[in-house]
């Protein structure tokens, strides 16, 4: 299967250090703390987690916008970490980042046509006529009026701006698109439009997605596999269906239980598990299991011993000493 892997990250660590309160001290904050993952061709890997758990930092490390502190990132078998800017350039075209904030990520003083064509102009992909033609084509592809290319970002609504951001990311025919909360700032109805568009584009251009979100409904909807992040680490990985049906990690279970639901069927509501407190400061990590201060089933052992990410059944990994729903998982995944 390894030839199918588009992006592979191994033990990626990213720390930020800042000046401490006391004279001469430094605070080291491990925003990403040893992440390994594989993204396979054509799939969508969803990443969920509360804000501040390191999703954006990880995304930036994956596309080499931030240098990793340690660990490696490989794209189609080539290790990218440590490459010079120049050696990196041919790869950059192949993976693109789509940002959360459709307002902040577009330069307000450039026309949207300029914004979308910029990557092509920088990479000298064709004459200006060809580029203009391609921009029109991209606008049509993402469902915008090609006549609008001479307008400015502020003349567009949030959903339209996100379409512009997507058009820009597609302009270089990337293999991999990493979308960092692309719909979090949008209304549900507009969010649905953008999600559908992204699904269509994936089919049409055979794209591979890494899709970051904090909305579990959205992630369920778009992903094939899902990783759950907590405090800079993955605490659970799984195929989307089984992960949502039978979460293994207590954190995943709690996250799923508190998603507001429409009571539009007579199905009994799942019991809500409200975890208390906030995500700890990545500069001051708890001992043992990072989730233990908030975990409803933590034991003394969890406080001292950190659980490793282990494979429970094919396609299911979890980092917890006492995984939930084990019986159900084993029952559904016994070899056929």
């Amino acid at each position: 299967m390894s030839d199918d892997v588009v992006l592979q990250a191994t033990d990626v660590v990213k720390t930020f250090s800042s000046r401490g309160k006391k004279l001469g001290t430094r605070i080291v904050s491990r925003a990403v703390n040893g992440v390994s993952l594989e993204v396979r061709r054509g799939e969508t890997l969803g990443i969920v987690g509360e804000s501040g758990c390191g999703k954006s930092t990880l995304a930036r490390c994956l596309v080499q916008l931030l240098p990793v502190t340690s660990g490696t990132v490989a794209f189609e078998g080539t290790t990218l970490t440590g490459l010079s800017r120049r050696r990196l350039r041919p790869f950059r075209r192949q993976f693109q980042l789509v940002f959360q904030d459709p307002y902040a990520s577009l330069n307000p003083r450039r026309t949207v046509g300029d914004i979308v064509s910029e990557p092509m102009r920088i990479n000298h992909l064709g004459s200006s006529l060809q580029i203009a033609e391609r921009v029109r084509e991209l606008f049509t592809t993402v469902g915008l009026d090609a006549g609008a290319i001479n307008r400015y970002p502020h003349e567009f609504s949030g959903g339209q701006r996100q379409r512009i951001g997507i058009a820009r990311s597609l302009s270089l025919n990337p293999t991999l698109v990493i979308a960092d909360e692309p719909v979090s700032a949008l209304d549900v109805s507009i969010q649905a439009q953008v999600l559908n568009l992204m699904a269509d584009l994936q089919q049409e251009f055979n794209l591979t997605y890494v899709f970051i979100a904090h909305d579990l409904g959205v992630v369920r909807h778009v992903s094939n596999r899902v990783g759950v992040m907590y405090l800079g680490e993955f605490v659970e990985f799984g195929d989307v269906g089984s992960l949502y049906e039978t979460p293994l990690h207590p954190y995943t279970e709690a996250l799923l239980s508190v998603v507001p639901e429409l009571n539009d069927t007579d199905a009994p509501r799942r019991e809500r598990i409200i975890i208390t407190g906030d995500v700890p400061d990545p500069a001051d990590r708890p001992s043992g299991c990072p989730f233990h201060p908030r975990c409803p089933v933590a034991t003394e052992f969890c406080r001292v011993e950190k659980p490793m990410l282990v494979t429970i059944s094919p396609g299911r990994q979890v980092a917890c000493h006492y995984p939930r729903n084990l019986a159900a998982v084993n029952a559904t995944t016994t070899p056929a």
């Binding site: 000046r19 309160k21 006391k22 004279l23």
Partner: protein, 322 residues
């Protein structure tokens, strides 16, 4: 907060050291220029040149020369001018400093009161006649050159109406506070007003802009939803937050003025302050004095900056953590 203050002043001292080295290098170690000739001034005799060379160790290595210079300036305080032979630099500055301090502090009190009042009244009356009216006066005050305003004041008080309504105005010059507080006040009144006009205009405009911004903030809506009175919202919430930027502006202006930027006002009103001293020493190319003045000015600018930062941290709790 304690660490913050310590850190801030430690860095201020470092900056001062760096400035003293830079100034020293510019004045006395520019390649191709004979430092002795520069210190001694124009048309100095060979004996004086030799004396200078000896006194400042001009044939010794740079670091030693720097230390000697600093010793003359700060420890022995016997750096002397060679243009007006025998005039010691440090006493000249310590004599000029109170004049400048009196001028700037007095003016600062006036411009802060007038500026803050103007800004608040304008912001509280947005859209009414009084707002653009105050802003117009503000921009007029900002646009009038200080020396012109000073000359006009002089003209009115010293010649035109000197025998009538302004007969109580003393002639230009300075009388120290210890000699006669009332004369000190009368001598400085018009210089204060002149200097304050410019800054009052700027401060009123800046404060109005800050207040208008602050009044659109979410926390103002919260304050209103709490049922607070409009007056309380304006003063305790909007103004309190807007003061942060006024304070930092004030620190910079105040430091610069003490450091010699009040030159024009001093010249027009014949006040023997640091600005005037710098001005005459520049005209005479009196290098030791120029250097003394620059060091003095730098000291106040850096000090004012440090004080502002501490005050800023006091006013804005978010900064304290940084």
């Amino acid at each position: 907060m304690f660490y913050f203050i310590v850190r801030r002043f430690a860095s201020a001292i470092l900056v001062l050291f760096a400035i003293s080295v830079t100034v020293f290098l510019i004045f006395f170690a520019t390649p191709g220029v004979d430092p002795a000739a520069r210190i001694a001034g124009r048309s100095a005799s060979p004996q004086i040149l030799a004396q200078v060379a000896k006194e400042f160790g001009l044939n010794r290595p740079l670091p030693i020369r720097y230390l000697l210079m600093m010793e003359h300036l700060f420890i022995k305080q016997d750096l002397t001018s060679y243009v007006n032979i025998g005039d010691r630099v440090v006493p000249q500055i310590t004599q000029a400093a109170p004049v400048t301090l009196s001028l700037v502090i007095g003016a600062a009190v006036i411009w802060l009161i007038v500026g803050v009042l103007g800004g608040v009244v304008a912001a509280a009356n947005q859209g009414k006649f009084i707002d653009p009216f105050i802003m117009f006066i503000g921009i007029a005050a900002v646009s009038v050159p200080a020396y012109w305003l000073g000359e006009v004041m002089n003209l009115l008080t010293q010649s035109k109406f000197h025998t009538s309504i302004f007969s109580w105005v003393p002639p230009p010059g300075y009388v120290s506070f210890t000699t006669s507080p009332s004369q000190w006040f009368l001598h400085l009144l018009f210089p204060w007003l002149t200097l304050a006009a410019l800054y009052a205009g700027i401060y009123a405009r800046v404060l109005r802009a800050e207040l208008v911004n602050a009044l659109n903030e979410d926390y103002i809506r919260t304050a209103r939803a709490k049922g607070l009175s409009e007056r309380r919202i304006l003063f305790r919430h909007a103004l309190r937050c807007s003061l942060i930027s006024i304070v930092s502006l004030f620190g910079l202006d105040f430091g610069a003025l003490i450091g010699g930027a009040a030159l024009l006002t001093e010249v027009v009103f014949g006040l023997p302050g640091v600005g005037l001293l710098t001005y005459t020493s520049l005209q005479n190319l009196d290098l030791p004095v120029i250097m003394g003045c620059v060091m003095y000015g730098a000291f106040f600018v850096v000090l004012a900056n440090a004080v502002v930062d501490v005050l800023y941290a006091y006013l804005d709790p978010r900064v304290r953590l940084a």
